[in-house]
Amino acid sequence: MRRIGVVLTACMVLGFFLMLPVSRVFGHTPLCSCWDNGDGTITCEGGFSDGSSGTGIAVRVIDKNDEKVLIAGKMDEDSEFTFNNPGVPYKVHYDAGPGHLVEIDGDDITE
């Protein structure tokens, strides 16, 4: 019985530490801004409202007509992601986890 208690406590402690990075992200608002580089490429920059970096956060370029993912990648070490303009109506998803998705319409992305 005592052993179960120890195991349970260990699990709770482990669970707490596993939740830490999640709560860090969830405590802040994801932010993303994109611009047209004027050379056929688009750059998106991601981050969080506390100023933390979006490095490693998933980015998807999606066809607005059929919702197909055209380009998928991650924010680089500068928290940026550059891709070729797909040439079809598109939108960008900056996906920081469930409930923390930023969607930017390609029509709003200007030079």
Binding site: S33, W35, S49, G51
Partner: protein
Amino acid sequence: MKKTGLILLPLLVAMLAFSGPAFAHFQLIHTEESALAKGEEVNLKLVFTHPFEAGHTMDMETPLEFGVVHKEKKKDLMGKLTPIMFESLTNEGKAYEAFYKLRGMGDYLFYVVPEPYYEGSEDVYIQQITKVILNVAGAPTDWDAEIGLPVEIIPLDKPYGLWAGNVFRGIVKRKGKPVPYCEIEVEYLNHDIVGNKFSKKEKVKAPQDAFVTLTIKANKDGEFTFGIPRAGWWGFAALGAGGDLTHEGKELSQDAVIWVQAKEMK
């Protein structure tokens, strides 16, 4: 008796001319919007004026420094300055403007170090080292940075993220050290700036002269707090923050200025 009257009359006229309310000089770096949804080209106007009254605009010489700090990188923008004439409600003064494209998220901290201005009525030089902070897409990066100006107000609240009714707090610093009990003048930009002039329409009426230029003081640690009563642009000028200085043999008041923009909660 008649002779005495002749002597006294010009004196009286002179006294009346100089006894009017002396409102505060404010160096502006003015733009429409401090909190932008996305990167765009902004217009910045550098004007040395009296913002509450839209009054006398002083002639600016070419500034000594004008630049921007973004993500800890300082960029000289002197090459982007263009001279303009700025129209107040009473005169026209030499000013400058610049266009700058904000690209990427974060804070853009614009600053100007003007050439000292000789104020004849006070026989002093005034140099107002001024900052304004713009933000793109809400990501905070540099708003609370100390950028190494001779005198500087370091904000303790985001200058672009204020509701009317919030307080704005800052620390007055000289060469990185707090300036205790510094006198700070606060003025509201009471007339919109449309093109290169003040709009004639005033937003509020001051019940008495003490409400035109509000005066507060920093505490022993150089910190100050101001409750913002109304949406719009508010300027804070820490007078003589640079200490006892002279310029061309005359007293120099080296002031630290910051502009903040509050939004109405509606």
